[in-house]
Symmetry: C3
Subunit: 129 residues, 3 copies
């Protein structure tokens, strides 16, 4: 059995994985980190959240999708205390990214490491189209 | 492209995320933690597992779904040693929640933190309807 | 509402969860660890990655699926530094498992523990059929 995939490859690891894979009405995104498209990692967590959502929106747009297509998101953060102390700022950045109160399921997990020591957050989302 | 979402919002963060999002036959639940509906966090891991499944069942019921609709679950635990030393009690609580041998894929991961320091487990599930 | 599930149970926890659950065109796999089918845990991370993919391929085959049916993978690793220092070897093992440049979304997370202290990696995948 074979399936029909649409892929969006980008960045230094473009040969190794796709930033998004669409099959049928399901769109799986690679976890997007708090790094700007020019490769900078903001010092503060809310700014990293903003950057991660910009990356997510970029991937979605390759499939003709928007933030509202997201149904599920998982936040992986390296410092839960820092995260919980900045919930209002994070939710503000998030609502700005969605353009409204997000209509998504959310899970928040503290992890021991992300791919770069400067990263404080990675967001993995699933979208439906 | 827009999609038709059904949402269930509840709890202190009801403005910020949904406890469940249904699109088509897919139902994504927010990670449910080991806290009772009155906000208590049991001291023991098996009791937290029981509480988390009660929360899951509550969310499922809002969509007319039952535990047997779950296809995939991920356990995030803060203390893997404690978890592995209590596998029989945890599986007992889990089988009671499902009402039978669960028919689900399962993944078990040790995490560095959950949203509250007293929490020992968060369970994230995906259901099909 | 009830759904039609196909299950593949295997291993010491066969009563407690399925290695794979298929509903419609979605196939959810339990996280597969870096352990061989004879229960050995290789010392090196790339060999564990190879073992995990062998386990994944075995589960997929029970549903008539192949590696190319995978759309999304999450790597949980216990030592991010070790992982990042062996990226070429890991990607080599991965490409060998897929038989080509993988067409999947990927997320890489550092975790505090996996189910056995010797394990360095667990890979959770979602496939479409």
């Amino acid at each position: 059995m074979s399936i029909e995939k649409e892929l969006f490859r980008s960045g230094p690891y473009a040969d190794f994985f796709s930033q998004g894979v669409k099959v049928g009405d399901s769109l799986y995104l690679a976890g997007q980190v708090g790094m700007t498209e020019t490769g900078e990692i903001p010092a503060e967590l809310p700014a990293q959240v903003e950057a991660a959502y910009k990356n997510i929106a970029t991937v979605l747009s390759q499939f003709g999708a928007k933030m509202d297509n997201i149904v599920d998101e998982t936040f992986f953060v390296t410092d839960m205390n820092e995260c919980m102390s900045q919930v209002p700022q994070i939710f503000q950045a998030r609502e700005a990214a969605y353009g409204k109160k997000p209509e998504v399921a959310q899970t928040l997990i503290g992890v021991s490491a992300l791919v770069d020591p400067g990263l404080k957050v990675e967001i993995k989302v699933i979208a439906k189209i």
